[in-house]
């Protein structure tokens, strides 16, 4: 599995209460392995806590990306982690939350979190 793709950059930050994966780019068939790989490794690091996906840089998410997010939520459940998604851009929020009804399942946080 390749963890790097020009279409999506993912960075993992370790925090006392869990890990954050900051994503930038498009989440689709070509880049979905980047999310799966990085978030998967974030789940293997440290004690179970909150896995935060920072979507500030995500401009596009298609049905393959949605499938990966659902898969990630299921992996979090199995591993005892809490998933949440923050800083979602309005266009991505419109698709994932309003049209697909995934807001509460993916724990999409309404406002940007500070500190």
């Amino acid at each position: 599995m390749t963890d790097d793709h020009p279409g999506l950059v993912a960075e993992v930050f370790t925090e006392p209460t869990g890990n954050t994966v900051a994503l930038a780019g498009d989440l689709d068939l070509a880049t979905v392995d980047v999310l799966i790989g990085r978030a998967g490794s974030a789940l293997d690091q440290g004690k179970p806590g909150t896995l935060t996906l920072d979507f500030a840089g995500v401009r596009f998410c298609d049905s393959v990306g949605i499938g990966a997010l659902v898969q990630l939520r299921q992996r979090c459940d199995h591993a005892g982690w809490q998933l949440r998604v923050v800083n979602m851009q309005p266009s991505v929020r419109r698709t994932l939350v309003d049209l697909c009804g995934l807001g509460s399942y993916l724990n999409v946080v309404e406002t940007p979190t500070m500190g």
């Binding site: 298609d62 049905s63 049209l99 009804g101």
Partner: protein
Amino acid sequence: MHAVDERLDRILAVTDATLSGLDTEDLLAELLERVRGLLAVDTATILLLEPDSQHLAAVAAVGLEEEVRQGFRIELGVGFAGRVARDRTPVVIDVDETTVVNPILLDKGISTLLGVPMVTAGELVGVLHVGSYEPRTFDPADVTLLQMVADRAALASQASRYRTERTATLALQHSLLPTQLPHAEGLEMAARYVPGHRFAVGGDWYDVFHLPSGHLGVVVGDVSGHGLRAAVVMGRLRSALRAYALESEDPADVLTRLDRKIRHFEAGNLATILYAMIAPRRDRMTVTLAGHPPPVLAVAEEPARLLSVPVDLPVGIDAAQKRRNTHVELGDDATVVVYTDGLIERRGQIIDAGLQRLCDAVRPGPAETLCSSIMARMQIEQAEDDVAFLCLRRTAR
């Protein structure tokens, strides 16, 4: 000087433009034949990776034709070819029971094997190996030449695999979509399916069926993912939904059952679905949405609009959520359009732009004409994904 000429000849022999005219099977056979001569070896074999099973299967061979005829397969990481594939690096071995697991290699009396990985765009495609009955060594130039051949073979094999998969997916898609919509009194219908670009084909469907009560079932759905696998899952969901529709006349209940079926038998798959039942008198529709965009409704003298229908989770998600039905009145002149997201989603645009464009395109009128005008106005050529949609219009009974 002589050595350089010879090396150049060898390179030309495997990069020869006339090879491009051959179909993949002939190309692989010809490359193996040439490489056997160039490297003065006795056998040459290509094994391709089967991505689903993670096994390598022999597909072309000279000197070791038994491998192909007997359908030799080996797990990634096991044996000689498995090791070349796993490590993605050239490997030379002296053949004995400790280095190979394939009995054919031992029985044939091969002494030395050189194998190189076939990789294209970072993806492992297979393994190419050559063997010699007499013990021998391979110098770096031999390895480089074999790697060139492997690269060429990898490219051709991968392209052929994509072509085959796309053809098979399209054939399956078309066999599963209605060739003709059923005749339904009081309704006129038309539909379109446009496959996505390149690999993004498969997984979308629409369906229309009569129910014993006189209701008409209307479905449009989208299995997450692409290719043959998505099309196969789509076929199963389509059949299962029809079966549950016979058992229950409550759309939310039908999708609840379907959800349970997917989670049990098709775990790991995800689909968005719109399922609607249109009343026998055609004046009412009950609709439920599983992660799917809402229908567009048009009546004469008014701009078309999105129906306000609450959306529940896609099917295939491990969550106990109560699904909801929404009842919609259909006036005498109502036109309804249901669709998959490929119709409205364009990279770099907020989805509302696509929804608005669709509403602007929907006008009362014959369903077939409406389909054509939606096709013309929705920039279908820019759609990367599958596009499926269905137009229904009430008519005098």
